[in-house]
């Protein structure tokens, strides 16, 4: 029939177009010993004191080196640009910068590079989201007042005393202050940052092992090895191309196809296949992230002695081992304290500190909930934001576990909130009526960072507004304590207070995971779940 020939013709066109498509696509990986790696669009301009998420942090980690650097394996803070950091009293510090460091534009790194950067980061008028990191330095309340106009542009606690030395005066004793200095917000900045700010933002210049060669916003960034880098951790490859992916599953597929060398977040749905897909080129290492369930203590129902028993009961109703094994395939580890294994035992991590309360004991769980007067309102609704991270799956699993333990299929339900901003707004306006998800990624590997911001009265991430005088007192004493071991002991004592009240239910420690092609060797993730790019060898 003549109609039939027409169809054949049309299908022929389609058939002819498809192979053309195949010819058009080349390989994505750049030549030489440059590797390509998955990336996400940074949410903020790439200023060190304005970057508060992993993707921007990835770039800063390659382009900047600070006074300290956290060892990629142990997480210990070690001197990088700091020659020495001295303090007689844990409140006044004298910092000496090593000689011979330069920015990649040739400008030497001096004490002033740090002081100017810190003043910029702290000053209210610069809108830096990490400004509160400078909150321990004297004069912060003048440059960054809670309300009203700022009355100073520079921190009075910072003073340049020589080309390579400066002093820092804190507004309270803080013995682990030097160990916080590896955080990106404390990085030094070149003059160009202040004089040609817009140009700097288009192509940031720093003092790290890589320099930014080209940056197409929203698409990719090419970082080239800086041959003149004076530090000990020179890049062992020629460069890194960071490719923006909107979905890590696509990045994963691109690694399978050989178009991308490294994907540093394996999608949960592929974890079952990753070992066979990549033939063992998969790493799964602990990161300084803990997931917890927080409670609204501004709600009377949750701030009673009975509610404490209910919280402990809920904690014992969660089968952490099963959820981490089945849903997360070992990329999470059941939590047994409120810190993270990356701290190491010396750093304050104490496995089993939570005790029976973090183990799965369904019968005891039911008993405790009953003793505590039952679930407030008869049902717990775990609130989470639906837009980022796949929280729905684990919240559903946690609820199923609780429901099975309590023998009531409506005891626990998830309560998704559309956007992260809405979720944060509900938290900050104290609108939560039940438990909600809380995740904490450490800023620096110190036990202090896992406790103080989360549980100290009115701390910035104390979303549930939990407050306990004994806890606060112990943290204050620990911060003032100059002996490291004794300080950690005090922090652990404070953690005991959190445990006894079950201030938040610890769920699991999160690992970083990555997969890579056979071009790469020596791939590792640091405790911040960022690939250690400078160590990767290509070919």
């Amino acid at each position: 029939m003549r109609g039939g020939t027409r169809v054949t013709w049309a299908l022929g066109v389609v058939a002819a177009v498809l192979p053309l498509a195949a010819c058009g696509s080349g390989t994505g990986a750049a030549g030489g010993s440059v590797l390509s790696s998955s990336w996400g669009d940074p949410q903020n301009p790439l200023e060190p004191a304005n970057t508060n998420e992993v993707q921007g942090g990835k770039v800063l980690d390659m382009v900047f080196r600070g006074l300290k650097r956290y060892d990629p394996r142990t997480g210990k803070a070690e001197n990088m640009l700091a020659e020495r950091i001295d303090s007689p009293d844990s409140q006044n510090y004298t910092i000496t910068v090593k000689n011979g460091w330069k920015f990649s534009n040739g400008e030497p790194v001096t004490a002033k590079s740090f002081v100017d950067a810190w003043n910029y980061g702290a000053s209210l008028k610069n809108n830096q989201k990490n400004a509160y990191f400078f909150g321990y330095i004297e004069g912060y309340d003048k440059v960054h007042p809670e309300s009203g106009r700022q009355t100073a542009d520079t921190l009075s606690g910072l003073r340049v005393t020589g080309p390579r030395t400066f002093t820092v005066r804190l507004n309270q004793k803080f013995s682990s202050f030097p160990d916080t200095l590896g955080y990106a917000a404390f990085a030094p900045l070149p003059r160009a940052f202040f004089t040609h700010h817009a140009a700097w933002l288009d192509k940031p210049v720093g003092n790290g092992p890589y320099t930014i060669e080209s940056y197409t916003k929203g698409a990719q960034m090419y970082l080239k090895k800086w041959d003149g880098y004076p530090g000990p951790d020179k890049a062992r490859n020629d460069g890194v191309t960071l490719m923006v992916y909107t979905d890590n599953n696509t990045a994963y597929t691109d690694v399978l196809a050989g178009n991308l060398d490294l994907v540093d977040d394996i999608p949960a749905s592929q974890l079952k296949n990753v070992k066979s897909d990549l033939n063992g080129r998969y790493i799964n290492t602990p990161a300084g992230i803990i997931q917890t369930i927080a409670f609204p203590y501004y709600d009377k129902a949750w701030d009673t002695d009975g509610a404490r028993k209910v919280r402990t009961g809920l904690s014992m109703a969660i089968n952490r081992a099963q959820i981490t094994k089945t849903l997360f395939r070992g990329t999470r580890t059941p939590a047994t304290d409120w810190t993270s294994p990356v701290l190491g035992t010396d750093g304050g991590f104490k496995a089993g500190l939570c005790g029976r309360a973090c183990e799965y004991h369904p019968a005891e769980a039911r008993k405790l909930v009953q003793e505590g007067g039952g679930l407030p309102g008869g049902q717990v609704r775990i609130t989470y934001n639906a837009d980022m991270g796949s929280h729905k799956e684990w919240v559903d699993a946690v609820c199923n576990s609780i429901n099975n333990a309590l023998g009531n299929d409506r005891a626990c339900v998830g309560n998704p909130v559309g956007t992260f901003a809405d979720f944060r707004n509900q938290i900050s306006q104290h609108k939560m009526t039940g438990p909600f998800r809380a995740g904490w990624q450490m800023d620096y590997p110190l036990i202090q960072n896992f406790l103080q911001p989360l549980y100290y009265t009115n701390a910035s991430s104390n979303d549930g507004k939990w407050s306990d005088k004994r806890f606060d007192g112990l943290v204050d004493r620990a911060n003032a304590e100059t002996d490291k071991a004794r300080a950690i002991g005090l922090f652990q004592e404070a953690e005991g207070v959190v445990r006894d009240n079950m201030a938040a239910i610890p769920l699991w420690y999160q690992n970083g995971s990555a997969g890579y092609t056979d071009r790469l060797h020596d791939v590792a993730l640091n405790p911040f779940s960022v690939p250690v790019y400078d160590e990767i060898k290509v070919g």
Binding site: R2, V244, D247, T250, F420, A421, S460, S461
Partner: protein, 307 residues
């Protein structure tokens, strides 16, 4: 005709203002976007207040809208939260999305109409049933799954295509994403064509044409198809919005940084400037597309006239 077009162009003005105001209002109703910018912690109050001032969020709503519209007319569409001007986002997103949409529409037109004509002429035959089954698969299996499977099969297993589309995204690299994007619309176009063909093949003018002894192909293409295309053209006109602004899943699977992705991100981050900017351009596209569709009516059916 000229007057009709002029009138339609004039009508775009109230629609333009109505739509932008509506979207502006809706994004604002979602609440305070600043809280989402500081990660898992409360923004310190001073910085939050300062950011609000900077984005103009502390002003009354009408004033924000007036300022925004004033800026738009000078070509300034504001700034996204990551510091990028919205015009810059638009200039990277729209070209890719327009190419993707063109590919999808070509698929809809070519495959959809061909399948529609074939099934319309052979209702109830095996080919009709097969196409119906295909339609069901396309409707009930999410685009996410079809896209993912095609990507694994064509991109990894057989290595015919690159699994992800590179930033420059040329037409040939958009063939598979375009097909995935078109899939659901294909079902509509196929069945609309099929039904119209089936309905019109008994119409008088078709009988007349056959009686005149015209070749079958000429009857099908010139008479039958032409008169059957009005619903199809209408549908595609209404579908352009979904293809351009709503291709979120397709764009995500193939890593295309297009309009759907930017719009979705803008909505989730509650960035008024991004959302209103993108929607404004989309509204203009709908308006022009709908005008074209209406003009096409008169081409396809000469009895339809515009004063």
């Amino acid at each position: 005709m000229g007057r009709y077009v002029a009138r339609r162009l004039l009508q775009m003005i109230p629609v333009f203002f109505g739509a932008t105001m509506l979207i502006f209002l809706m994004v604002n109703v979602m609440g305070d976007p600043i809280a989402g910018l500081c990660g898992e912690r409360a923004c310190d109050t001073a910085t939050a207040a300062q950011l609000k001032r900077e984005f103009g969020l502390d002003k009354p709503l009408w004033q924000q809208y007036a300022t925004y519209m004033g800026n738009v007319f000078t070509g300034d569409f504001g700034t996204a939260f990551n510091g990028q001007p919205v015009t810059e986002l638009m200039s990277t997103a729209f070209p890719v999305t327009i190419r993707l949409t063109i590919v999808a529409i070509v698929f809809e037109l070519v495959i959809g109409i061909v399948l529609g004509v074939v099934t319309g002429l052979r209702r109830g035959r095996p080919v009709d049933t097969t196409v119906l089954l295909g339609t069901l698969v396309v409707i009930s299996v999410p685009t996410f799954v079809t896209g993912l499977l095609l990507q694994l099969l064509l991109g990894v297993k057989w290595a015919w295509i690159r699994p992800s589309v590179p930033p420059e995204a040329s037409f040939d690299e958009l063939v598979v994403p375009g097909l995935v994007l078109a899939s659901v619309s294909l079902a509509y176009v196929t069945r609309l064509t099929r039904t119209s063909i089936a309905e019109n093949r008994r119409a008088d003018y078709v009988r007349t044409a056959i009686a005149k002894g015209l070749p079958r192909r000429r009857v099908v293409v010139r008479h039958l198809l032409r008169n059957s295309l009005i619903p199809v053209v209408t549908f595609i006109g209404t579908d352009i919005g979904a293809l351009m602004g709503g291709a979120i899943v397709t764009e995500r699977i193939f890593n295309i940084h297009g309009v759907g992705y930017q719009l979705y991100q803008g909505i989730l981050r509650q960035n008024t400037q991004t959302v209103v900017g993108f929607v404004t351009v989309l509204v203009l596209v709908f308006l022009v597309a709908n005008l074209l569709v209406d003009l096409l009516y008169a081409v396809l059916d000469p009895r339809i006239r515009y004063a």
